[in-house]
Symmetry: C2
DNA sequence: TTCATTTCTTAACATACATCAATGTAGGCT
DNA sequence: AGCCTACATTGATGTATGTTAAGAAATGAA
């Protein structure tokens, strides 16, 4: 049994408790989002309960679609467990992957969210996924309540810009092999979790090309 | 004579004035940046003088380099007149253009600016250019002083993310022709001002390929 | 286990784009 | 004016990547 799980059970035995307390406990103190706010965002303890009351959670199964192209995106998702993906589909139905979001990542279609325009993109789940869902209003409220949250939110935006820019630089300046090598360096964990044709789609090449690149690399190593 | 110019001269004749006042007048009330803050950012009149004291101006000649790869970028540039460009250079010396910034655009290497890491990119002037120069501290101060500025700053970041994302989508999902058509639709003014090999560089293709694409399009139209 | 489905690999061929080299064209400079 | 220099075009050729199709391997369901 996992230590945290054991600790919780112990607590439930020792402390007289109600259903709603255990529910609260379950959904907050143990929640990856709670831990993230506390340890990464450095939200002060006194602000945490208020923020946790403003969000809600959701579970989606594999392949479930959270946002369709044409819809207006009203949510930001925080992935507690599982994996989301943001992608477009062209006239021929081919998918082009803009972004992956594994555990402890935020994902949204910010263009649609912030500007209220219909999205050109889809969001779906690549695995069974547990989410925290909130909207732009939550961000604004949270930024008012917690200066630490405000700071972290700006950090997220700045970091996002940096990542997108580096990716553009790769796309216009490097061939398939370099892009792939960069991908596995940046996202070694993802490389194992997602099918190769999705990596190819993210890199802007076909699955067959990626297969050839990998063959080349395998031979070079010997 | 331009009406605004005439109005200023009139004022200088009627009002007893000092050199420093006319200097202030020159550098603020008429300044494109001042007008931008007032009309686009909607900074309240009472906040404008304070903000204008925190910035400084600079003129650079064509081909002058404002940021070298390897340097830490400490500035955000606002283009009052002229044209800047952000680009990388690969091992072979080939340039890859990340972004153009004509009049009334902000340009910076945000990754380096915000995170204090050495830049992978260069910034230079494609034309003789008048700039407003400020740093991240200015942004933070301005956001404290003026809520409108804070709002607009977030708008800029969100919009930047949207644009970068759309460009990535084009790069991984479209061929040279579509990318070019999209470029001239988005930036018809730039299309006239910059050499084609720079457009090609921005699109991730060679100048020769762009020339062929244009030939194709010219024939199709007939 | 077995079967079905998805993913990955491989090969033959097609195509878009790059490279190299030559020529043409237009703007600036003296 | 004439001469540079930078830019644009064109053609011949090379190469990386796309397409199509088939089979192999992995995955998941019954």
């Amino acid at each position: 049994m996992h230590p945290i799980q054991r600790k919780k059970n112990l607590l439930l035995l020792l402390v007289p408790t109600t259903f709603s307390f255990s529910l609260f406990f379950n959904q907050t103190m143990e929640s990856p989002f709670y831990i993230y706010l506390k340890d990464k965002v450095h939200v002060r303890p006194e602000h945490l309960p208020m923020l946790m009351q403003l969000i809600h959670k959701k579970s989606v199964s594999k392949n479930e679609i959270l946002l369709f192209s044409g819809q207006i995106c009203s949510s930001i998702f925080f992935v507690e467990k599982g994996l989301l993906r943001l992608y477009s589909a062209d006239e021929t139905g081919k998918e082009h992957i803009i972004q992956f979001a594994p555990e402890n990542w935020f994902l949204s279609e910010r263009g649609s969210l912030y500007f209220g325009t219909p999205s050109d993109f889809f969001i779906d789940a690549l695995e069974e996924t547990s989410l925290v869902v909130f909207d732009q209003q939550f961000i604004d409220r949270a930024a008012e309540i917690s200066p630490e949250f405000r700071t972290y939110n700006e950090y997220i935006l700045q970091n996002h810009i940096r990542e997108l820019q580096l990716r553009i630089n790769l796309l216009i300046g490097s061939n398939a092999q370099k892009r792939y090598l960069e991908f596995i360096k940046l996202y070694p964990d993802l490389t194992m979790r997602i099918p190769q044709w999705m990596i190819a789609s993210y890199l802007g090449i076909t699955a067959e090309s990626l297969s050839r690149v990998r063959k080349m690399l395998a031979h070079q190593k010997k």
